[in-house]
Amino acid sequence: MNRLTLHRLILWTALLLFSAYFLLPLYVMVATSLKDAEQMRTTGLLGLPDSPTLAAWAKAWSSACTGVDCSGLQPFFWNSVQMVVPAVLVSTALGALNGYVLTKWRFRGSETLFALLLFGVFMPMQVVLLPMSQVLGWLGIASSIWGLILMHVLAGIPSTTLFFRNYYLGLPDELIKAAMLDGASFWQIFRRIVLPLSTPILVVTLIWQFTAIWNDFLYGVVFSGADSKPITVGLNNLANTSSVVKEYNVDMAAALIAALPTLFVYIVAGKYFVRGLTAGAVKG
């Protein structure tokens, strides 16, 4: 064997071993979720199910117990949907407007305001939890989905503003100037020129916000009430509900139900997801 093939062999062994390492938990989740209690015993952690069944999925969706309540993850899933849609749309829209003004309609102090806002991307949210629960109480939306939406919008504005601002920096100012000479207004320029050029960053931001808000656990566990808990809180309660026999197959089906929406988006639009990750970290 010559040197080059040997190198390739080592390279591919490493690449495939790492693939196995990353895929193992997903494989275990899927395989386990398709087993019943009997097969769990006979096939162990890594075995394939002998006769796959969706019983664990059905139970996780509609009849598994989270604490004393036994209606599965279904209500939590719909809570998350009701929370995610408005929170993603509002935070993205505000980010787009902020980014537009911060790059094309700068005013005295706007850069400083942006720098102040930027710290919100990184700050530990623990620092706002206690006061925020009081604010939500005053507004009369404590323990409700509206409270969670407000929290997610406020927590999301710094990132969405950052995304749009960095993207709009790349749009030539001449474009805006020319439109202004033609008498176009602030809103006309935004609607007719800037928005049509924003598709890539819109997709990136929508995906980023969807993933972040769907996967959030901290605000969900702190600010939700009995009937507004998001799916992550439901899953955590389900997996930590102590029963006589621990049903890991139901836990795994529940974990997959919670993961499917964001995994689906990742697989369909992975390119944009990666761009969001890099945009959040490297701001050059």
Binding site: A14, L15, F18, S19, L24, P25, L26, M29, G44, L45, L46, L97, N98, W105, F107, E111, L113, A115, L116, L117, F119, G120, M123, P124, Q126, V127, V128, L129, L130, P131, V135, L154, I157, P158, D173, I176, K177, M180, S185, F186, T211, N215, D216, F217, L218, V221, A239, Y248, D251, A255, A259, T262, L263, V265, Y266, I267, G270, T278, A281, G284
Partner: protein
């Protein structure tokens, strides 16, 4: 300032951003200050605004549980940051070798970033289950004496959190480094090869050192993720056994929201804020500066 300004309605842009800017800045700095005030108040089960100075911080420093959380933070932080960075850079270098199916491999390495830490924690909890999980598998392979009970071992459980954390975040580091490696001019590699340098040497001595800016911004992002780690611990160990895997974030949550010690919780949140600010503020400062 090359951007145009509108002579007709100079107030309009400001008016448009005012609501969200005011709300955001109040949210960030107003609540931050309010939390700071709670941390020097006598608040326990209910907020109280009786000023007690640094009493809560003294109590925090005396708290055995908080000390455990800080020790864990150091240990978990080092393993999580070191592990994710090392594995991520390695994966990026491997993927940079013009391999076929690079897209598929990248998708596999990065998908954990798309799922919730609660999902990750639930999955790893099952795999690391002392009697049914990986221990059982290895015993089935004939190693009867094999024992892997880290998840329920107070001295070892924090390593389990780090293992799952690295699994989740290494792909993120890979994505950033791969993008940066792709930005390097090919002629540098060719020139070095002509000089007879081996490929590992080229990466180690030339390419990776040239990625210093990416290294620092990645390190910064991963470090702040480490300090904010909360979900993974809640799902994997819920801070247990006992409070052996508490981190500052779980300490803050438990103290403020389940044990009803608001003042103490606020003080621990302020400590987290100070730590992150110490890392992030210099970074943001230099980032914003260098761009002008």
């Amino acid at each position: 300032m090359s951007a145009p300004s509108s002579p007709a309605a100079p107030w309009l842009p400001r008016l448009v951003v005012a609501p969200s800017f005011i709300a955001s800045l109040l949210f960030i700095y107003g609540l931050m200050a309010w939390n700071g005030y709670l941390s020097v108040s006598a608040s326990r089960l209910l907020p109280s605004y009786e000023f007690v100075g640094f009493e809560q911080y003294v109590q925090l420093a005396d708290s055995d549980r908080f000390r455990v959380a800080l020790t864990n933070m150091g240990l978990f932080g080092a393993l999580f940051i070191g592990g994710a960075m090392a594995l991520g850079v390695l994966l990026a270098v491997l993927l940079d070798q013009k391999v076929r199916a690079e897209g598929a491999l990248r998708t596999i390495y990065l998908y954990p970033m798309a799922i919730s830490f609660i999902v990750t924690g639930t999955a790893w909890k099952w795999m690391l289950n002392p009697s049914l999980g990986l221990e059982q598998v290895v015993r089935g392979w004939g190693f009867e004496g094999f024992s892997f009970d880290w998840l329920v071992n107070p001295d070892k459980a924090i390593y389990c959190v780090a293992i799952a954390g690295v699994w989740q975040s290494a792909g993120f580091v890979m994505a950033l480094f791969l993008a940066a490696l792709r930005g390097i001019d090919d002629s540098i590699i060719k020139a070095a090869q002509v000089d007879g340098a081996s490929l590992p040497r080229i990466y180690w001595r030339i390419l990776l050192p040239s990625l210093r800016p990416v290294f620092f911004s990645t390190l910064m992002v991963v470090s702040h993720l480490a300090i904010k780690s909360f979900d993974l611990v809640m799902a994997l160990t819920a801070g247990g056994p006992g409070y052996a895997t508490d981190l500052p974030a779980t300490f803050m949550y438990t103290t403020a929201f389940t044990r009803g010690q608001i003042g103490l919780g606020a003080a621990s949140a302020t400590v987290m804020l100070a730590t992150i600010a110490a890392i992030v503020v210099p970074y943001l400062h230099s980032e914003l500066r260098s761009r002008r």
